[in-house]
């Protein structure tokens, strides 16, 4: 079936191979419903007008009509069975990924998505996928239930802590032919970007902001030509900077990471802002921190590193040991430490 690549009034754009089938079924049910609804409301209105109370006209006693009863009891079963069967067939298609699918590992946490490409490349809150190739996501959550939902692809699957769940899709081109087949390979060329939502309620942080609650646990799927995607995987990634650039100091890179990794969900970085679930950072660096076990320690680079590597080893007094371990490369670790240090000097 042809993909409708622009959103309609009812449904989002059809950008995966599942979408046309799902939408066809949606439309089928929709029109069946419309027919039934018009029938129900139409006949009701007709009777209401025709048999409205008139002086001297009595209601006719109700008779029996078992054949009619049996007819409307059992005849809808045919349509219902069709819906069930088509729905199930479509669902089974979604349930069984092809063996050759590109496997991307997804780690959900409150309130950010981490993606790991097959070659180990990690991305935060965005993921690059090839067009026209089946992609399987193997998903896990470190804390509570989440749900990975891409309306454009018509896929959704809960992400459950303590077990793996999986979904797959095959993205289609939005605008076939817009990029010629012989166009040069470009790791930065993106055909289109689709929105990822978290569809299972997962709480909220104290302050409102990006990646700070169920409602802002967004991510983006960047769809690329396969050769561009391959190139993207093998190209070293520039570091992220707050202004979207690729050149910046360690502190600025750390600031970017602080947002991208969702640290702000628990750690306050505005001086004078409300206390969140974890220690606030302004003015923290260099002070003595009392620990839950009664000892105390100076907040220095080593302490911060230790706390990120193994969050439960040195829990600050008055806080719960709720911090997850978050994967960082060595440069990222250094950048974050530099950023936290810079906050401490404010």
């Amino acid at each position: 079936m042809e993909n409708q690549t622009e959103p309609s009034l009812q449904l989002p754009a059809q950008l995966s191979t599942f979408a046309p089938d799902v939408d066809w079924l949606f439309q089928f049910i929709f029109w069946v419903s419309v027919v039934f609804f018009v029938g129900i409301v139409g006949s009701t209105l007709y009777f209401l007008v025709k048999y409205r109370r008139r002086p001297g006209v009595k209601a006719e006693p109700t008779g029996h009509h078992n054949a009619l009863e049996l007819f409307w009891t059992f005849s809808p079963l045919v349509i219902l069975f069709l819906m069930f069967y088509w729905g199930w067939a479509g669902f089974m298609q979604m349930a069984e990924a092809p063996d050759d699918a590109v496997i991307i590992r997804v780690r959900a946490r409150q309130w950010a998505w981490g993606f790991e490409q097959p070659n180990g490349l990690t991305e935060d809150n965005e993921v690059h996928v090839p067009v026209g190739v089946p992609v399987r996501l193997v998903m896990s959550s470190t804390d509570v239930l989440h749900s990975f939902y891409v309306p454009d692809f018509r896929v959704k699957r809960d992400v459950v802590p303590g077990m793996f769940t999986s979904l797959w899709f095959q993205a289609v081109e939005r605008d076939p032919g817009s990029v010629p087949d012989d166009a040069e390979t470009d790791p930065n060329r993106i055909l289109y970007t689709s929105q990822v939502y978290c569809a299972e309620y997962c709480g909220a942080g104290g302050a409102w902001g990006p990646n700070n609650g169920h409602a802002t646990m967004y991510a983006l799927v960047h769809v690329q030509r396969e050769q561009d995607y391959r190139a993207f995987l093998s190209t070293p990634r520039p570091i992220g900077c707050p202004d979207g650039g690729t050149e910046c100091t360690d502190e600025q890179h750390g600031e970017f990471l602080f947002g991208a990794k969702g640290c702000g969900a628990c750690h306050q970085r505005q001086a004078g802002g409300p206390q969140l679930a974890g220690p606030s950072f302004p003015g923290l660096y260099g002070t003595q921190q009392a620990l839950a076990d009664g000892s105390s320690v100076t907040v220095d680079d080593d302490f911060i590193r230790q706390s990120i590597l193994d969050p439960r080893s040195q829990v600050a007094q008055g806080f719960s040991p709720v911090m997850p371990q978050i994967p960082l490369t060595q440069p990222e670790m250094n950048a974050l430490i530099a950023y936290i240090r810079s906050l401490g000097n404010q």
Binding site: S140, G162, F164, S166, L309, S313, Q325, P327, M333
Partner: protein, 208 residues
């Protein structure tokens, strides 16, 4: 209206029941004790090994089935005689059996889901990643305690009490060191993050 009180059979409106002999109750009690002794005795027998030699004790489910069959027999005795379902209104028996039936539906469907979760897709609903052996994070807490992070360890993962160099794909990044209410007690379960899900209870003997 068969169950209605204004029925002809009770025209005087008084309650009439048939009173059983004491000996009946004693016989039922004797049977219950007999079954109890049998079920305890059979629990020492290795029926699975007897039916299919080589099966570990309890693994074949035969002991389980036998014990449940005996329990059901005992329950039937209690219901029919002690609770007088035999001569009580049929509808009361129906209510009771109906209750059991709905409990059975609840049990059957839920077990069906648990049992078949990864049958269609080996990545679906599994606790251990089928390709990498990674244990799903967010699950049973790491009881290995905290890592002594050596100064030269610049990677991020603390697994089973050791600081492990982070190697993508083959090791779980965010595994281990879970948190939340569970973490406060730091008990239970095995060290997490061991490849291929080896439930390495022995890794953390100090806790027990």
């Amino acid at each position: 209206m068969s169950d209605h009180s204004h029925d002809h059979s009770h025209s005087d409106g008084a309650v009439h029941v048939h009173v059983h002999d004491v000996s009946l109750y004693l016989k039922v009690f004797g049977a219950l004790i007999f079954f109890t002794v049998v079920t305890v005795a059979t629990s020492y027998l290795d029926i699975d090994g007897f039916v299919r030699p080589g099966t570990p004790h309890g693994a074949g489910g035969m002991n389980f089935l036998l014990a449940m069959a005996i329990a059901t027999a005992k329950a039937t005795f209690v219901c029919v005689w002690f609770m007088h379902l035999k001569e009580d209104a049929r509808f009361n028996a129906l209510i009771f059996v109906g209750g059991v039936l709905f409990a059975a539906v609840f049990l059957a469907y839920t077990l069906n889901d648990t049992y078949y979760r990864q049958h269609e897709d080996r990545f679906q609903g599994v606790l251990v990643h089928p390709s990498t052996g990674e244990r799903a994070p967010g699950g049973l807490s790491d009881i290995g305690g905290s890592c002594e992070v050596p100064a030269n360890c610049l990677s991020y993962a603390c697994q089973g009490g050791r600081c492990v160099e982070y190697v993508p794909v083959h090791h779980e990044g965010a595994a281990g060191g879970e948190h939340g209410a569970a973490a406060e007690g730091e008990h239970g379960g095995a060290a997490e993050g061991e490849p291929h899900g080896a439930a390495a209870e022995g890794e953390a003997p100090a806790e027990h």
